[in-house]
Symmetry: D5
């Protein structure tokens, strides 16, 4: 079986297909993922898979050069996200985030039950 | 969004499509799910989603009339599974379990990193 | 088999895939469901499955934060819908309802033979 | 919209595709429909769509020359089925019925919550 | 086998999927059915299946509230169509008819070899 | 548009894909076409498209070196078939015909309402 | 096997699906067939299948009411095309031809290695 | 555009997917290609694409280590095939050839109108 | 097996499907290939398959009439690309290159880990 | 973009889908991959991608508990494979290896041009 931090076949396929400046949405269980955006479903019960846990796995697998979260998010949530990312995410209006989500290359739906636990990752480059 | 204990679209679809005596496999991250068996992927990192946690969600959603686990499983694991199931699972040889898995209606792959953390559920009936 | 109030595999999958602010159409047997909108077919004979009965099952399964019905609907029908929903649906022109139906995430076609027995549900959030 | 007693697109397509001696399964909500048999899902909540109601619609739409039910079925259920069919169904063992179900051309799953509310219809011919 | 006036699986499925105000095109063998419009092929040789015969079967199966034919059609053809429909079809320019055909829900191509033997049916409602 | 005696896209594709010794079933409206055999649906109402008419079109389009009909068929029907074919079809038991139908390359279902109006054509070669 | 001048299953299907005023592109081996236009591939080696030979087969199978070629084409090629068509093709700019090719119903790619050996056929009607 | 002797996208894909000991069928226009064997259609009119011409293109593109033809083939045809292949094909009974054709990796159907113009190529290796 | 310089089935199919003026993108491992553009994946580890090596194989297989690279590319990289191409690529802004990439007929993703190792090839013609 | 030693989306998906005792084939460019076995194509030109290089990437990504190579392989090749694997592969007859390849979960085709450069990996477990 596969070794390493990420072992989900579909999520691996999605991440390895993305390139520099592509955007990926990692979202809470209530986010309205736009029709047509390929989605990896990790939500199975309220709160699980947890948002920050899934985010950490993704951060450990791809290069990220920028991230955006809703300015409406709770301050602690924002700090926790920055902490996992290892960078400071842009704070943008939730309505802008939703607009940009429509052209994301993929979405990862977690089971998080926390308002505004959504982030758009801008994929970075390894070289 | 959907209320209740189970919020995964594909797992709900799989469970609601099963009938009396159909069999479902819930397995650890290393189980070789037979080709051709529809699979819900919940494994995303070592240990997560945890086997007993996923099993509890399934137990809370469908009727189960029998269950089978490998006799090779650790005693504590067997007790924990029985506890979540609310019934005593049959202990059968792992090789029998693998044979029966081939004709399961569906498989749910968790991220569990524990040997023999696999169970075949025989679906029960509500009336 | 699955326990609980809703046992239709495809309808469960549709409801669990929807998120906050997504819209779902529940309609009578004569409604022209727009091409391209995924549809769960529950109509099998005139009047069955009944609109209010199906609506009640959906209301028991998802969070709803708003609903819209045609102002042309019979007063009693409107009251009955509000009663099942547990909230007062917006009354909008049937022509507006038809326009919004085009971007619904899904449609559930009942067998109801009552004029204007249609409602657009705006999905709510559990947290 | 279509007139007449049957208004379900998929069920009409299934019935019109069947020919003389083809077999169709109409079953309760708990029946384990064999993988690979095309299925029309009419079950949406416990008891609905009701078995006898759906059966009556099918009887009103196709020619049937024989029917088989489980001898384990309750006597009253058997009489009610015969009554809807307008003929006396064969009583066969439930295990035989399950074997034959595997080669049915199609299955119609109702929401019935009654044990042995299953019938295999042998399609008749109009000329 | 299915009883009644219409026994084509695909045509039954198309008709039962249509709703109030949806439009359906019934056309001659030479009509350029727009790409993307689902089509039931009934043309097999010049003149067969005949346009008026197919139209009569459709009229006997669905509710129709309006119909449109090309004003360029022969007077006798128009009368014959009205006669089968049991209503007077609108006469519109052939070019308008072709424009509207692009958004039809479905097309039924007959084998008719008569100029302007085309009609757009606006589906009616049973209640 | 295509000229000539046969104008059905799917039937042309089926006939042109067949080769020497392949078998094709042309059948009445009640024949139970085996699952998995590609089928061209020409049946739209009782009696139409007529069996002999469709057969004549096929005979005019492909080379046929042998044909088989059920010995149970009415004598006049057999003569009429031979007449259209331009050769004397083998008379075999209906049960043999049904067995061979399972491995036919394709089936053409007409709307014929006449018992045993079925023929298996063995495709011939042009050189 | 099929008799007659055209024996390619896919090309027959394409031609029989076209109607009056539909356009079809027959092109040389180097033509950039627009993405999304269904294509029959007849090119297998430089020069083969030859453009005029394929064109003759198509001309013998469908009704054509107009044709357009690039005015940049060699005079002899234009005359040869007219000769096969039995009509005088319109001479239009190659850039116009490429624009119209985007909305063709189908394309037939030959193996021709001659510049501007492309024609857009406007399908005619048999009645 | 692609340079070289073979310019057919599907045939290139088929040939490059084959490996040592895989078998490919190149056949005349009347050969009954077994259902399920992927087929490249090069037949468009009687005699074209010609068998030996297509064979030569394939021989120029892949390594072949053995070939088999029907012993019933005309002596001159056999010599011509050997000549194109650059090796002496095995002569086997046509019935054996048909049996082996069922497990071929692919088939290339030419338009050849010559009896027994069929060859099974056993793919060779470049190293 | 296939002989010659290019042995990838999917890449051969893509190249042989392209025509004069079609554009193909050959890119480094980090390039964000636009959704909807068919892609051949050759990247398997950092640096491999190498960009110039893959480019050389493509250059040896198709006619190219023009090429474009980012003016931001390292001078040595540009020279190396020109050298492999046998022509001088246009230097355009990376942002223009990305815009044009959206309408490319196909993309070949190499494993190159070098900035701006991307080229858009404009397909040429053999005659 | 994805970090780490393996960056091919399809290969990652295949490896992460495999479980304990599943078998994977890594093969040279001439191996006849059995029809029906999902295949990742890495061969693009003779010798590339190289077998040992691809094998090393796979070894760095999954757990392997056993491996089998053909006893007919060159001694040096066998040693090199063992070296990359970090274990001693079983030597079995090439004919056995080919038999087992038919039930492999997946195949990775390299561009290697060396005889018997094939290995069947038996997937191991991480816990």
């Amino acid at each position: 079986m596969k070794s390493g931090v990420l072992i989900h076949p579909g999520l691996l396929e999605m991440l390895a297909s993305s390139g520099h400046t592509d955007e990926l949405l990692v979202c809470d269980a209530g986010y309205p993922v736009p029709a047509g955006v390929p989605t990896v479903q990790l939500a199975y019960r309220p709160g699980h898979a947890p948002f920050l846990d899934v985010l950490a796995v993704i951060v450990g697998t791809i290069h990220i050069e920028r991230a955006s979260i809703a300015s409406e998010a709770d301050t602690d949530l924002g700090i926790a996200i920055d902490d996992v990312l290892g960078l400071t995410a842009d704070r943008i209006e939730h309505s802008s985030l939703k607009r940009r989500a429509r052209s994301c290359r993929g979405a990862i739906r977690t089971g998080e039950y926390t308002r505004y636990a959504n982030v758009i990752l801008t994929v970075g480059v390894a070289f």
